[in-house]
């Protein structure tokens, strides 16, 4: 195809006061940086994980320690024969990822040989490997839980901040060391199924139905909504915005007091979660209750309770049925191959891990660093508790080491907040891809997590995307539903979703999960068969289409749309303007 989308518009200046040494971190193959001339020679995709944009500290730490350390080291260790992990660039506050190809045939062959040794070793020892990594991280988490941040001597805060960053970096090593081989195993099985003539829409279903820590959290949250209704508190929730609910419930007294106690008990166990992957810029549910309150508020708008047990049973029945359908069309010899692949994937179940690991890694690993930065802000008498998050890493260490937080640094933070807000407003117009767009990609993370495939690559390059009335994507969760579309930029807007409406967004992450208890359907620009939305869509029985490419461009907020999750099709039935005029 050879289509090149220029990057010029995004080169040049970055965050006010940015200097290249702010990105002076170790990396394996390619370092993160703002877009530079020449970057159009590589392929870049807009990363849906951070649709709000990233503050200077969030941007540099995630890109350096997540992508350019975590993915690049993991793809050397496994290794990926033709790939060396993911690197990234910034267009304003928005992160673009890029797969790093390995093109030397001899090197690819040598790497393939190593994969031949390492992948079976991983699969044979998957449980021990993952649990050891998880337990190591939980031990570090417990260490931070034991730290009284307010009592740490100021002289030691810098050390605590360093520890917080190392916790995140180590978590990213473990994360991608496990994710790459699991994905490779899953995608190999997916390809084998396709070659066996199995309907590939069934493949995700083969592995669904196993309970995860995130699903457990959702059930507990839903349980709180049921408790609120039974305690006669539905009206209090209806009358107040999420941010005001704690005060309103305290004032209400009576049954509300007990409910608040239950709510705080819930937060003590499940509240150590932020609303995006590894974003130091976002609060946990304990720091900011409004998302938890907002979810419960919308649950209460729903007439019928979501039946988690029934959904779980259905997911299991659907799984068994899908396996039966697939096996019945195979010869005995093919069944032996299929059964081997299924067993390997049931043992190292990627869809399960993809949901479960978020509880232990993605949603909380930045929280200790965030708390340390907030404590530093308090000690230096900053105007806002999040000021340190608008500094670059060396600047934060300087402040922790005693450099006065005043004058130039303070005004830089003010400028950078403006810069963040400016780019936040540009998010919906950011190109989905930049640089030299290929016809297909080989990095498993790009294929499965981002849903980048030949079809979605064509879709995002369609200049007429905004006027499309039909979209195709991955048939992620079956069923057909019609409803009003709510096009959300981030989970901050989840409260806009009314029951029975259809969620349209770039992609979802675990903090979006509660929405699936009330929506009629979901459509995402990105994400594959095993993206978060696909997994949760199947668990909740919500028709879902992922990797639609340009759903957030083509579908307008308030449009009436039909989502066919069985066939991966989305149709815009009526535009919001026409509905209003009718």
């Amino acid at each position: 195809m050879g289509n090149v989308v220029p990057v010029d518009e995004f080169t040049g200046e970055w965050y006010p006061g940015y200097k290249p040494e702010h990105f002076d971190f170790p990396y394996w193959v390619d370092a993160p940086k703002p877009f530079q001339p020449g970057d159009e020679n590589a392929f870049w995709f807009l990363d849906f994980h951070w649709s709000r944009g990233l503050t200077p500290l969030a941007a540099t730490l995630w890109s350096a320690d997540g992508y350019c350390w975590g993915t690049q080291s993991a793809s050397e260790k496994l290794p990926l024969p033709p790939g060396r992990g993911i690197t990234c660039r910034f267009a304003g506050t928005h992160l673009y990822g890029s797969p790093i190809p390995e093109s030397d045939p001899r090197e690819i062959g040598a790497r393939a040989n190593r994969l031949g040794t390492n992948l079976p070793h991983f699969l044979q020892n998957y449980r021990a490997i993952w649990e050891a990594g998880r337990d190591e991280l939980e031990a570090t988490w417990d260490y931070f839980q034991g730290v009284d941040f307010a009592a740490v001597p100021t002289a030691d805060l810098g050390g605590l901040i360093q520890q917080g960053r190392r916790y995140h970096k180590r978590a990213m090593e473990i994360h991608f060391d496990v994710m790459y081989p699991m994905l490779v195993n899953f995608l190999g099985f997916y390809g084998a199924c396709a070659e066996l003539g199995i309907d590939t829409n069934l493949v995700g279903k083969f592995l669904q139905g196993e309970d995860t820590k995130i699903m457990e959290l959702d059930r507990e949250l839903y349980g709180l909504a049921v408790k609120a209704r039974n305690a006669g508190l539905a009206q209090v929730f209806a009358d107040h915005e999420p941010g005001d609910l704690r005060a309103a419930l305290s004032a209400h007294g009576g049954s509300a007091s007990q409910w608040l106690t239950d709510f705080d008990d819930f937060l003590a166990v499940y509240g150590h979660r932020s609303d995006a992957t590894c974003d130091v810029g976002l609060p946990s549910w304990i720091e900011d209750n409004s998302n938890a309150f907002g979810n419960i508020k919308t649950f209460l708008l729903k007439e019928d309770d979501h039946d988690f047990d029934a959904a779980a049973r259905n997911a299991l029945e659907e799984r068994d049925e899908a396996i039966e359908i697939a096996r019945s069309g195979l010869t005995k010899e093919e069944q032996a191959v299929f059964d081997g692949g299924l067993a390997a994937n049931q043992a190292a179940n990627f869809p399960w891990w993809q949901d479960d690991h978020n509880f232990y890694i993605d949603l909380k690993v930045m929280l200790p660093l965030r708390r340390a930065c907030q404590e530093l802000a308090r000690r230096v008498d900053a105007d806002h508790k999040d000021d340190m998050l608008y500094l670059f890493w060396p600047e934060v260490l300087d402040v922790a080491a005693g450099k006065p937080y005043a004058g130039e640094l303070k005004s830089l933070v003010a400028d950078r907040r403006q810069y963040f807000d400016h780019w936040h407003g540009r998010r919906s117009a950011m190109p989905k891809v930049l640089g030299a767009v290929p016809e297909s990609v080989e990095d498993p993370v790009l294929i499965e997590i981002f849903g980048i495939n030949p079809g979605s690559l064509r879709a995002v390059q369609n200049p007429d995307a905004a006027n499309q009335t039909t979209l195709t994507g991955v048939a992620a969760a079956r069923g057909v539903a019609t409803g009003i579309a709510r096009v959300l930029q981030s989970s901050d807007e989840l409260h806009r979703l009314a029951p029975g409406e259809i969620l349209v967004c770039e992609s979802t992450s675990p903090n979006w999960t509660p929405a699936f208890g009330k929506i009629a359907a979901a459509v995402c620009d990105g994400g594959g068969m095993l993206s978060h939305a696909a997994i949760v869509g199947r668990e909740y029985g919500v028709p879902t289409v992922t990797a639609a490419g340009v759903a957030t461009l083509a579908i307008g907020d308030g449009d009436e749309i039909e989502v066919d999750g069985t066939n991966g099709k989305v149709t815009i039935l009526k535009r919001a303007a026409d509905l209003a005029g009718a």
Binding site: V184, N185, L187, F189, G191, A194, T331, K332
Partner: protein, 353 residues
Amino acid sequence: MTDALVWVDDVDPDAAIAVAGSKMGRLADLYRAGVQVPQGFAITVDAYRRHCAESGLDARIDEVLAGADQEDVDAASARIRELFAATPMSDALTASIVEAYEELCLRCVDVNVPTAVRSSATGEDAADASFAGIFDTYLGVSGPQRVLDAIRACWGSLFTGRALAYRLRKGISHHDMPIAVGVIELIHARASGVAFSVHPVTGKPDRVVIETSWGWGEAIVQGLVDPDHVEVGKSDGRVLKYDVAHKKVVSAFDFADGRVTEIDMPAKLADRRVLDDEQIAAVTAAVTAIEQHYGYPVDVEWVIARHRRAGDPICIVQSRPVTVVATEAAPAAYDPVAVAQKYVFSGKGLPGR
């Protein structure tokens, strides 16, 4: 002097293909192997040779061919085929064919039994696929005179334009590939079809593939009807797939005209599933047994007779070697590294996306 006629159930198996051509020779071979085949006889290669020599046809054919080149093979073909139609058989040969036909009527307990008169060339569809199916077959030929005419028409089909062009290009003399003709009982077909002992496209050896429709198999063989498609696991006989097609045309016996011809499929049969599980098992058993007999993959044409009852074998009317071979051996066990290399890191994009 060798016999002018040989019966399928009575020919020396070692000489069958040499005297009766590959099609009839294989039928005789299947009969000996215990496969249910139709009754019939062949007018031998030798009888054809003698007819051409004694009637003066050889000289006249050579005369036509001497003036022919690649450009006007069709004109040459037409002239030679006219010569075959106009040249009578010797009285002795005519008498033996009529006698054999009457014997076939007796064996089938029928008057003027309808037959299939099939060309059975030497070399046809054995080594060179380009000859497969280009010689004539007449279905539903009934009565001695029609049988005699059909035999001469089959002889003439050795000189179709395509066959002539091929031999000219390759420098082969028609004397080197004489033809035999089979006269076999026309099985009254309820359903018929083809069956492959391996997948005809992928070459996968783990399955039998069956294509079938109502009536005679001509409409399937000639590609006039979209047949039902069935795949059966070879090792356990399980039906893996049954796709019912919308079958628009059927090869049926036209009693007025005395031959099998293609007519519109009756609406009530068009979308109906042709084979039940017992019939699928019978076809599978037959094609698997034939593959085992020969030791290489085969395709067969088969017929389910109207009078067939469950448990009876089905009738095989033709068998050929299959030339397709699997591009790669199917894996015996799941290998996560191999599938990753093949599907994830191939540079071709994940299949099924």
